[in-house]
């Protein structure tokens, strides 16, 4: 009898957290875990264009994907895309954080202005850049024309998004533009944690400005830098609206990354698209694992 009540008590105690964290677990289950399972299943199934599954397809979706003539190019472009956008973002943000960390009148307002691309929908920013690059009336083309850098409006030269060689740099530029605010703010938060007396000591020792930055600021900024970089890698790898709004991955697949390719495949073959998603997801898992290793989440949780 006594034993029974103690078991009952233990069960009740074990279930105690359920009303509190249960809804969150269910929501994560429905929206995150379930899609992962469905996606992996779908990648091994034959699915009609209308979404009806027609049984197992073995590894055919994967072999079809890997045999796509554009697959290699798309994967290589995704890599270049992530490396280019994140490297440029981090380097420029380091400079911006240094600048906005100085004291000057109106600093708060200048920092607020920097928020705009972060708060605004990435899609809207991409649409407005596409508009500014319009061959006929785009503002950027008009400025280039008036500066004598562009011969005439309306021609092929005035359509940078029409060719892969000029479209890609513009896509990278827009991606960097929308990534700068968060990265700069994260680095500013990191700079704020560096105590002033460290700099005082360096000045006493007669260290130069550059030397101080290299030997004191950068090493102390490393945790913020690492996390900001990883979050950026994740965001840029999963980036979709910029390319979708500005070029749709065209001409051909010449500006498509793996997420764009996955979305285009979804229109013709959901199974193959699921295979592409699983490949993407594998890379995301690797990135999450790296994040969990380098971040100090444990100290915050406990």
């Amino acid at each position: 009898m006594q034993q029974q009540t103690s078991i009952l008590k233990r069960v009740i105690r074990a279930l105690g957290p359920l009303p509190w964290i249960g809804p969150a677990v269910v929501l994560i289950g429905v929206v995150v875990v379930w899609p992962v399972v469905t996606m992996i299943q779908s990648s091994f199934m034959k699915i009609s264009r209308f979404g009806v599954s027609q049984g197992s397809n073995g590894l055919d979706n994967y072999t079809k994907l890997f045999d796509e003539p554009d697959f290699g190019g798309v994967m290589f472009r995704s890599l270049v895309w992530v490396v280019a956008v994140v490297t440029l973002t981090v380097l420029i943000s380091l400079a911006l954080a240094q600048l906005f960390n100085q004291r000057f009148p109106g600093r708060r307002i200048a920092r607020w202005a920097m928020i705009a691309p972060w708060a605004a929908s990435v899609l809207m920013t991409a649409i407005i850049f596409k508009w500014m690059l319009d061959p006929e009336v785009g503002l950027i083309n008009m400025i280039l024309h008036d500066l004598g850098l562009l011969d005439a409006l309306g021609g092929a030269d005035a359509d940078p998004l029409g060719r892969a060689s000029t479209a890609m740099p513009w896509l990278v530029a827009v991606a960097v533009f929308v990534s700068l605010p968060f990265t700069t703010y994260a680095l500013l938060a990191g700079l704020a944690t560096i105590p002033a007396d460290v700099y005082e000591a360096a000045r006493m020792d007669g260290a130069s400005r550059l030397r101080t930055y290299w030997s004191i600021t950068l090493p102390l900024l490393r945790p913020a830098l690492t996390v900001a970089t990883l979050i950026n890698v994740m965001n840029v790898f999963n980036s979709f609206p910029i390319i979708w709004a500005m070029t749709h991955g065209q001409p051909g697949y010449s500006t498509a990354t793996s997420t764009i390719f996955m979305y285009i495949l979804k229109g013709t073959d959901i199974g193959e698209s699921a295979a592409m998603s699983v490949v993407n997801f594998g890379m995301v898992i690797v990135l999450v694992a790296i994040f969990l290793r380098v971040s100090k989440w444990k100290t915050e949780v406990s």
Binding site: I28, A110, P223, Y263, A274, S277, S295
Partner: protein, 296 residues
């Protein structure tokens, strides 16, 4: 010595709240001017596309396809025309999705964050790691799975599927920031209110929640903006034009030619400017929530 004393209040007043006067005094004036000028220029670059967005939205229709830097007159009627155009319905969908997701996130995140901050229990660590992992995931990577799932549920084109997905992917931010707030409120405060006869829930609602209000507001605004701006999931899960949020509707505008372009830009201004202003309100707290568990 006297000059330093005299300069102090002035330097402190201009440099603002956190200023320590001594370094500001030492800074050569010309350098401050250069720094400020560069910063203002950069601030302008960041605002530039949005200024152009507003200027385009204010162009009279006949000037939209004219290569001129500025419109000859500001056509404010473009905004009134937007309300009577078809896109107003899409704005309503956006509003419903954003509001619904925000309510869902608060209902789910508040109890979870409170309980994990107050109690040690088996599975607490596992739960927090699960939340941290979902924070790193983005719907784009799971798009095909999300589509297949809601297709099977028969929930394609439904506002509820968008609310669920937006809620789920923004839950992590809310849990982290609320967890941090609840952890920072001393348990004794709550105990005292409890002993004073307020009851467990009275103590929670009268003491703890008001103290965590800044965190709640931050989570609320952040979720609202994220759901408001969301594009990829909505693009995948909605097919009927009237059921699409504004982002998807505006994007499908681009491909067409015989349309009222200024509707597109009036719509993008309405979709963009309010969230930029909202974001300024929570700017100081957002970095902490996004990099939770990392910068300390």
């Amino acid at each position: 010595m006297t000059t330093t004393e005299a300069a102090r209040p002035a330097a402190g007043a201009t440099a603002g709240r956190t200023a320590s006067p001594a370094p500001a005094r030492r800074l050569p004036r010309i350098r401050t001017v250069l720094v400020a000028a560069t910063a203002y220029l950069i601030a302008f670059v960041f605002l530039f596309p949005y200024v152009e967005m507003v200027l385009t939205a204010l162009r009279p229709q006949e000037e939209l396809l004219k290569a001129s830097y500025l419109p000859s007159v500001f056509a404010w009627e473009n905004f009134t025309a937007f309300w009577s155009g078809g896109l107003a319905g899409n704005l309503l969908v956006t509003l419903q999705v954003a509001a619904g997701s925000t309510v869902l996130v608060l209902l789910v995140a508040l109890p979870a964050a409170y309980y994990t901050a107050r109690h040690a229990f088996r599975g607490r660590m596992a739960f927090l790691v699960l939340v941290l992992i979902t924070q790193m995931f983005q719907p784009t990577a799971l798009l095909v799975g999300i589509y297949r799932e809601f297709f099977q549920f028969g929930m394609v084109d439904s506002i509820w599927s968008l609310i669920l997905v937006n809620g789920g992917f923004n839950l992590a931010f809310a849990v982290w920031i609320l967890h941090a707030y609840f952890s920072s409120i001393p348990r004794e405060l709550e105990e005292a209110a409890f002993i004073d006869g307020n009851g467990r829930f009275g103590a929670l609602f009268r003491i703890t929640l008001p103290l965590a209000a800044p965190g709640v507001v931050t989570a609320l605004i952040f979720t609202f903006i994220a759901a408001w701006n969301e594009f990829v999931v909505a693009l995948t899960l909605t097919t009927t034009p009237e059921r699409q949020p504004l982002t998807v509707a505006l994007n499908s505008f681009i491909g067409q030619y015989e349309v009222d372009w200024q509707n597109l830009f009036a719509g993008s201004v309405i979709a963009t400017i309010p969230v930029i202003i909202l974001f300024v309100l929570i700017e100081r707290k957002v970095v902490g929530g996004l990099t939770a568990g990392s910068i300390k």
